[in-house]
Amino acid sequence: MSTAPYAIELKDLRKSFGNTEIIRGANLAVQQGERVAIIGPNGAGKSTLFNLISGRFGPTSGAIVLNGKRIENLLPYEINRLGLARSFQITNIFSRLSVFENLRCGVLWALGYKYAFWKFLADLRDANERAEQLLHMIKLDRKRETLAMNLTYAEQRALEIGVTIAGGANVVLLDEPTAGMSKSETTRFIDLIREVTVGKTLLTVEHDMGVVFGLADKIAVLVYGEVIAFDVPDAVRANARVQEAYLGSVLADAQAAEAGVGRPAVAGA
């Protein structure tokens, strides 16, 4: 193993729901600063994998290592404090708070304010500056005081990303960030994601192959709860096992989509 610990390492990770094993011995080692897209057919366990890494579920067996630390038995907030943040496939923000307040909530813990009730938010200059900066980064300056529930769908997705990166975590998991967006929105959004995750390790579940090949340094292919390939895009494309299991049909779909027939019909797991 190299000297610097992997950002994220999965070792023979397994997860069963009842008698059904969803994740069956997944192995993955992501280097610091890598952008990894996780792809796979419907039901391959992509979202489950994210839920395991982020602590939403505990694994049945196996290990998850974040920056050299075992995290498989930790709670979501403990994992977050160790520098891992995630977004959700279904927008998951604070609906009755303004955009600015949403972002400020996201930065509070990382700046050490914890459960303070003896300080005024208005006086926390670093938190306010950071929230303003995030507001600008996700291009919602004009919506500063709008309640999150009154935003458009695309704006809510942007805020979702904003809240995710607010705490400055160095490992960011994005679960289908562009789900439900139009083609033009997706293109803009991918640029946004690239901008705001500079220097971070990024794992994303994505079904839009254009996005995957555009955004990712490496692609992990998850099929039936196993990572069957993990390599640079070209190598993955050429991998016979991947083609056989999955990618061939998706590439065909993608090409069809490029030709204007429709979006690839590979939804999230």
Partner: protein, 437 residues
């Protein structure tokens, strides 16, 4: 008293105007507390004002849970009530010299007691959120109430525990014997507690409590333990409930099992909701309503709790944000200079609602007479009419008036809803246009 209304709406304004606005709001709140007993001078009024002060602190502390944290508690009186008992015992101790504490600090003793019980009981309660939370508070409330009857040494059994607040040396000539002196002491506590609870809403924990209300799951993924947020907030709410309990002890000089009972917890819930849980100042309105309806409405009719239930149902159905939200919605229209478009509808709404209420009230009075008169006395005076529980005309007349009132009200409400929607649409379009600029 819509004193704090403007500060809640002024979020987006420049800071200097905000600061002056805040000063005006809090200044007028202090002034209102100061001059209220000069305007309402009767001894009944002074007692009511003291009770309003207590209710304000209690309802605001309850709203920390309900409005700010999304925690529906059915047992908030446990904390105010147990604090009342502790405060009464402290007062007794101050009287016989075994616990030398000045009378002025009794509410603080209550606060510490409330906090103490919230630390213990809240740990169990706040492990859960949502429905399980509500169930646990209900269970704990029953438990404490049952216990209060089982341990007469502390709770005084059926008769309760009483004390005398005139103890120790007078402070600057104040003995706190006369109700007016107690009022001003309680007013000071009311003001400080209100300010402190408002300040809480502007702190990191206060904001995270809102976040936990909106989306507990996401909170866990931005570094916070929702359980811890709820627990600490619960303790703080318990402290202020305890202060209210201590204030109660000073004002009434007696604590009975009723103060920890489910009935009182229910009142906190009902009036906080009526006043409006979504705005900070809502519970203040609720607290005033609570005392007014308890003392005045109960004088007017024996069936006052039925009316209360009716009003509560009406609010839940048509104005779930309570009175505070009604005020704020109208202020918003006024800020966009469109209030004139809707005010014309208010008399129509009021008249039709009154017709409906008159019918319902006649029914309530008839039912109550049936219950109280036990079939002997059948006549009941109502709004200049004499209704008779034996007469079919009385019953059918009341029902008819209520139904006609409802039909008229519903018709007006729908028409009004359309006008309101149109105005809201214009405002939204205006805002969108401003953003696009």
């Amino acid at each position: 008293m819509d004193a704090t209304a403007t500060s809640a709406s002024a979020v987006a304004r420049p800071t200097s105007r905000l600061a002056t606005g805040r000063l005006v709001v809090w200044g007028s709140f202090a002034l209102a507390l100061l001059i209220a007993p000069l305007i309402f001078r009767s001894s009944l009024a002074i007692t009511m004002l003291s009770q309003i002060g207590i209710a304000i602190v209690a309802c605001l502390s309850y709203n920390m849970l309900l409005g700010q944290g999304g925690m529906l508690s059915f047992g908030h009186a446990v904390y105010s009530g147990l604090a009342t008992f502790v405060a009464i015992h402290a007062l007794i101790g101050a009287g016989d010299g075994s616990f030398p504490v000045p009378v002025t600090l009794i509410p603080l003793i209550g606060g510490l007691a409330g906090m103490f019980f919230a630390v213990i009981l809240g740990y169990v309660t706040t492990k859960k959120a949502g429905t399980p939370f509500a169930m646990i508070t209900l269970g704990l409330g029953e438990l404490v109430f049952a216990m209060s009857l089982m341990i007469p040494e502390f709770f005084g059994g059926e008769g309760g525990v009483s004390a005398n607040r005139v103890v120790g040396k007078p402070l600057f000539g104040l003995t706190f014997g006369p109700p007016i002196q107690v009022y001003y002491l309680l007013a000071v506590y009311t003001f400080i507690c209100t300010a402190a609870m408002y300040a809480f809403t502007r702190t990191p924990l206060g904001r995270m409590l809102n976040a936990v209300r909106d989306n507990p799951e996401r909170v866990e993924f931005i570094g916070y333990s929702t359980q811890r947020v709820r627990y600490i907030s619960f303790i703080i709410a318990g402290f202020f409930a305890g202060v209210a309990g201590g204030m109660y002890a000073l004002n009434f000089e007696i604590a009975t099992a009723e103060v920890v009972g489910a009935g009182r917890s229910g009142l906190y819930l009902l009036f906080t909701f009526l006043g409006g849980a979504t705005f900070f100042f809502g519970p203040i309105i609720g607290a005033i309503l609570m005392v007014v309806s308890f003392t005045l409405l109960s004088e007017m009719t024996k069936g006052w709790q039925l009316y209360l239930g009716l009003v509560f149902m009406f609010m839940v159905m048509f104005a779930p944000g309570g009175i505070a939200s009604l005020i704020m919605m109208n202020l918003r229209l006024a800020a966009h200079k469109r209030l004139g478009r809707v005010v014309g509808w208010y008399p129509a709404l009021a008249v039709t609602a009154l017709i409906m209420l008159a019918g319902a009230a006649a029914l309530i009075e008839l039912v109550y007479q049936l219950q109280l008169g036990a079939g002997l006395e059948t006549k009941v005076a109502f709004a200049g009419l004499t209704l008779d529980t034996k007469s079919a005309a009385s019953w059918s007349g009341a029902v008819a008036v209520m139904l006609v009132g409802y039909a008229l009200f519903d018709f007006t409400r729908r028409r009004f809803g359309r006008v309101w929607g149109a105005v809201e649409g214009e405002i939204a379009a205006e805002n969108a246009a401003r953003e696009a600029r």
